[in-house]
Symmetry: D4
Subunit: 249 residues, 8 copies
């Protein structure tokens, strides 16, 4: 039941075309959320600047092309495909031209709106070169959501002097995303250097007792820096998304 339908129902009551018991009866059987237009409108406004996203992992190329094609036709926001594999990416780039393909993370981005709406800069930091794919996903997401992103790569905890040399870039960011595998210690170190929220992304980089990112995840959840929150292993998209939400505030 849209607002229009509810209005018509009330008009029938007003005009006497419907009695109150009948109106109540019909309202009783309306799906609840159809009355939720206020909330939906509210959402639509809030969602302004948020890209449409297709999560490619585990989908077929056809499926992804179908969904992304409709999104590109319909709206005018940016469209982001994440976690495509090379074969999928090749087909997507052919059938839906105009995208940027980022092979490391598998992301494909279609720009529709390049306005920078974030209030400050988002720093995306990663510990080693192997963490770059996850950091790239965070970066691409944050950019597609209207943010300036400053990428600081390859600054591990075992080379503290390299980390400190970036302190100015870090302290001028409004939010910091930190991607790290292995022991996952970088968010704590960065968290101690800045006074803004740090979003930690454990990566599945490592071997043996890294248990595919579990060691990094536990490390980050136990961070001794109070300004650190954590997202799922390898979830660069989620980190970039939340960082963008914060940077809009």
């Amino acid at each position: 039941m849209t607002e229009q339908q509810l209005r018509e129902l009330l008009e029938e009551v007003q005009s006497g075309a419907s009695d109150i018991d009948g109106a109540l009866q019909r309202m009783r059987h309306m799906p609840f959320e159809d009355l939720g237009f206020a909330k939906l409108d509210h959402h639509r406004a809030l969602r302004h600047g948020i890209p449409e996203v297709v999560f490619g992992l585990g989908k077929t190329a056809e499926h992804v092309i179908g969904i992304a094609g409709k999104l590109l036709e319909r709206g005018n926001g940016n469209v982001l495909i994440t976690r495509s594999n090379p074969a999928m990416a090749e087909r997507v780039m052919q059938e839906l031209p105009g995208g940027e393909h980022f092979p490391m993370s598998g992301a494909i981005r279609y720009w529709r709106d390049r306005a920078v709406t974030g209030k400050g800069k988002i720093a995306v930091v990663c510990a080693g070169t192997s963490d770059i794919p996850v950091a790239e996903e965070a970066q691409i997401t944050a950019e597609a959501m209207g943010n300036e992103v400053d990428c600081i790569h390859d600054v591990g905890v075992a080379g503290i002097h390299r980390l400190i040399s970036h302190s100015e870039r870090l302290t001028t960011a409004r939010v910091v995303v930190v991607c790290a595998g292995m022991e996952g210690a970088l968010p704590s170190a960065v968290g101690g250097m800045v006074s803004v929220p740090v979003i930690a992304v454990p990566t599945s980089v490592g071997y043996g007792a890294s248990f595919n990112g579990l060691a990094a995840l536990l490390g980050m959840l136990n961070s001794c820096a109070s300004n650190v929150t954590v997202v799922n292993i390898d979830n660069g998209f989620g980190a970039g998304y939340v960082a963008s939400l914060i940077n809009r505030l």
Copy 2:
């Protein structure tokens, strides 16, 4: 080496009282961070409004009283003691009068600065009455950091209509903290209702296969809502802290 000491060294160079090789030699042996006054000043400004915190868990009452006593003498920010047990709390309240004691969470708060500096409202939601101690810790922390907090208690996922009845309160918050044990599903539901960052706190509430909060933790890390980040199990303080940082932006 303080700024003063560095200034004096430069003056010696300027006056010829020290030659350049000698000055370099002395600088070579200075602890690095002593040159870091700029950063520290910067930090001090940023830290304005952040309370001093004493983590009580695993400390003796004497130790906590000693630390908190010094903090109360020295500064003029709010002071927060978290995770005191009843015996510790009783002694602290006697020896350091003027505090508010919150028995459920074990927090003790000393107000020194009641200015509300947060730009909006922080909502703190919890799933069941057993999650209230953790939610209370988040609330107390956020208040001590200058925020207005709106507490919404006992709105589990199995009673969706109760959750939806609070949608207005939720959608008007600038950040939302959600505390839940057992299956930890509430942050996803709340995350789908709001367009702002949601900080999820798994609680150790539950039994059996809740594994002391592990089930809730994993649930939250795998949230299908993209605006959810997670802190450690029972870490109400951390959630309140990050929510406050976000609400200052």
Copy 3:
């Protein structure tokens, strides 16, 4: 907004005391679920025969007495307190007389409605004497929900002949609850003997590699009998509850 309030609003529209835009505006700000009277009524009917339950674990005696006291004043359904400890039980029995106390499971039951509404018999089986507390919780719950319960205790998988000697009792039940710790094998054996749903409850009975019920839980989830579903470790209440729902169908 109750049905009454909605009716009044429609009457105002009908009478012209309220215009349509104003009515829409007021409906927009109503909590959604208040429109849900149909569903709630529906629920109320369905909930007929379901006891009010207070989960005692982790609550204070005062808290439990307060909640249970109100439930006993207000309604006329059976009231069940689960997982009380001995001290709590003693106080509850004093302050809220009329209850039955079951020391093994810690349950306390107040009968208000002894009608047997379940369509058949529920069998509650347990593997060893140490599993009886959990089985008792299931039994008490199912009885309080209007079922006849047949308890078959101490029939482990290592004594198959004992199990088979109860095959007639098992095959005449309409639902079977099976509680087992250690290797959790009993539900599979029972599941192969009956053609009705089997609800398996892993118990935390065991030591060493039972890991507080994890071994039994995993065993039950991997049951080779297709008619087995599983609830949380030690969750006798949940098993009795679902068994009762099934037995009402």
Copy 4:
């Protein structure tokens, strides 16, 4: 020893062709269960309407074709092959014509008896499009067991309004199967909306800390809704099977 053989033995005793000690001696060495004709007959009646099932995972195509071929020749119940891979499915469809192939779940179904014997409707709900294969397995199983199935796809907890819009379909089902990966929160939400048994199926959908369905499994076991029971990860067949057993009651 069949009933016939036992009858003959008794006739020998009656006729004096066998003395009692000899008869006892022969009975002593009979396999126990051969005396179980009563139970087996009983079972046969109860099993009416239960399809023959071949679990394809880890078997060769030849093996599956052999088993399924015999089942198709012999009986007149429906035959279901689950978890075939594409190559196996292709060969099965060629050599055993007449089946329906469901590529998403890998199920192949041979209809022999389309009678609808379930007393009500079974709802099969899934959280995301990636959960559809598991939901499909549940649906196909329940249909093959004589049930009308109502499929409600793609209603996650992070979009509560979508879930609520299906409340009428949910509340009119006699049993509900809910499939969800990631945080596994949907069964709790559905469980709070209905008053019938909910069978939760964790799916292995997700990545990182989903640990191949473990997060969803733990979430469901810790559900705050009391009407939820759980089957193994990805076990759509088991959920459809138990739902059908319940719907026959």
Copy 5:
């Protein structure tokens, strides 16, 4: 249905007092296992020399005294109570005089039959003094089952020369039980020294990453010696029991 009852039924058939259909009908409703006298007799013979055992862990002293009292009255085999705590042991020793109490393991043993029936010697080896309680439980069990036991204590893998100094005692045993906590390496070393079965008992001795015996358990399951099998953590009773079964062969 006992043998006697079955005999009477056959006599009625023989005499014509019962017709065959009636007899079949009555047999149909007999509990299956009652026909199992052959098997039970067989068992009784095999069980000769196996003590009656009461597992004390988690039982009340009353319960243990009740069970053990009946066993002592009834049979003439040895009676063993395992895992009593000190308070329970004190009461048992008072109320059921004549037992030997072993405080380290909590075992209490009542001798009724001191015949040594084991064909050879059982060696019980333990790695450190902290493993002695578990080794003691194995020893007491094996002795009560009619075996000569040779105890070799405190021979860890880190002191190989001590272990080798016992090689003669080890190689003359017919079965070896090895109890070890921490890394659980001793069974492999012993397994390489002997040519008979080695039963490994992981103990919960250790701290930190021993995870209450899990490290030892995993170590033993992965033993590079092919003659090692494993029982549950701290299950000295089970090891002594199986060693005794082997030593009877």
Copy 6:
């Protein structure tokens, strides 16, 4: 130092060609075990009838052929290759003719000594057809070690009557090996039916919460039958080996 060398040294002492200090000095630097001829002889006798085994998993075909070739040339005991993959098996069968290849388990066996030396029969039981490869490995090993093996396949706990129908075969075995995946319940049921040692082999058969055999492993370790010991997941070889050692006693 071989026995010969030690003899020569003593002869030098006897003849005066070496003084005692010099002899002691030389003995001091001898590798210890070289004095171990007694023990090695002892071992050799004990090892009579034990086949030479090459564990194929993770080795190259060349490596396996090299080792097995030498074993076949050198000794006259049976030779067993376990866990070959199809490609390796093909090459082994070509280059080392005369072997039996068992494709399900990947074992290859070369008979050199077909004497049956085991004192009784070893039963090898498995729960489902998918467990047969592991059971086959146990069977082949036990046969190669001189045992008569009775294989009982496909008797799961959910079909107890099938299991009981084999009770005579089970109770006449001297040792029983039981292989089961999924919930791993079969060893407990078998353990309750026999009075001899039961060696349980968890198999990695299953999916989801079977966690590649962990569920079965934990179930078996927690068996309520006292005569059960456990080997590593899928370790059919180890089970057959220990069963053979027991059957030689």
Copy 7:
């Protein structure tokens, strides 16, 4: 067989009092290690400076006093009791006077030899005040083994500037022990600052997802600094021991 006994045997051979076959026969039955005098002497020299240690955890006060008393009577090396609880410590200090008691770690130390034999300085670093007990155990051990120890407390990764301010103390140590709980990140940071071996000790400090030190343990095992090795959770003794061995080289 001691050296003396072997000498006598050789003398008998030399004198003809024993023939060679008889001598060989007797040597055949000697325990192997009795020939190991060379190795034992060698060990004794190497063990010079290593204190005698009594691990108090899980022992009774009587037991500890007994062992330590003998050690104090017998030798002249330092004696160390670790992990005593307060009651045990009180009794030990009374009955074995002359010890130093360290209440935080529960260690008790008896000095017998204060020679400093370590070639350089051992630094013992800890992340937070709660890690001090473990650090203290490492320090006390290293001191008792003849080392100068430099303790650097409370320098977490989230306060990098504090850590760097100690870089001179760190870089002048010959070995570094680092104790840290929570995320266990400090060893990586320290490891990047020094060029000597770093021994990391995870502590059980933390809560929630620290899982009693597991998070720190995994973090340290995955350290991105190549000079880090790890000991068991809370094993300050082991770290101090190995550091001392290294510092003797």
Copy 8:
């Protein structure tokens, strides 16, 4: 800021070309670590003899060739590539001639400096032939860092006499690296035989409950030998690296 730049700044201060406030201002904005020349020089000296290492796992051949090529051009230390796969190794060997390729471990080594600088011998021990790749990585690393390495292969705990036969080689090493999979018991046995540091490397060799090296890892962390420290699963490089650091002391 290099030393040169700092010198120039001081010269400007000395000459009056820059005033002190300006100089302070410029120093305030210098990256911290640029002042760190002392530390870097210090490091450079310490790093003498440490090879440049490229970790090949997860990198492309191009990437590895690029990095290694630059290292070979630039410096004059040894260059080590670890964990190359066969395809990568083939390309590296072609494009960067002069390397030694070790196919088992995937290491490629370029000698530039063959000076032996280690003060003693490093022993590298492994338990089984499957552990050799990891042992090889440790050996190659230690050699490239200027050490003599003594490799002792295939000496498992289940063949103690083989281990003891190498006691002289073990006791003459200055550091011992021990690689073992399965139960990981070898480091304890070796640790008890030597008085020097033992670095234990768990390998992922094994199956079933070895959980890819977890069993070995836990075993080693719980070693009863006090001189054992542990590195990550399969981390032969790290073990060789730390052993080399120790052997330089």
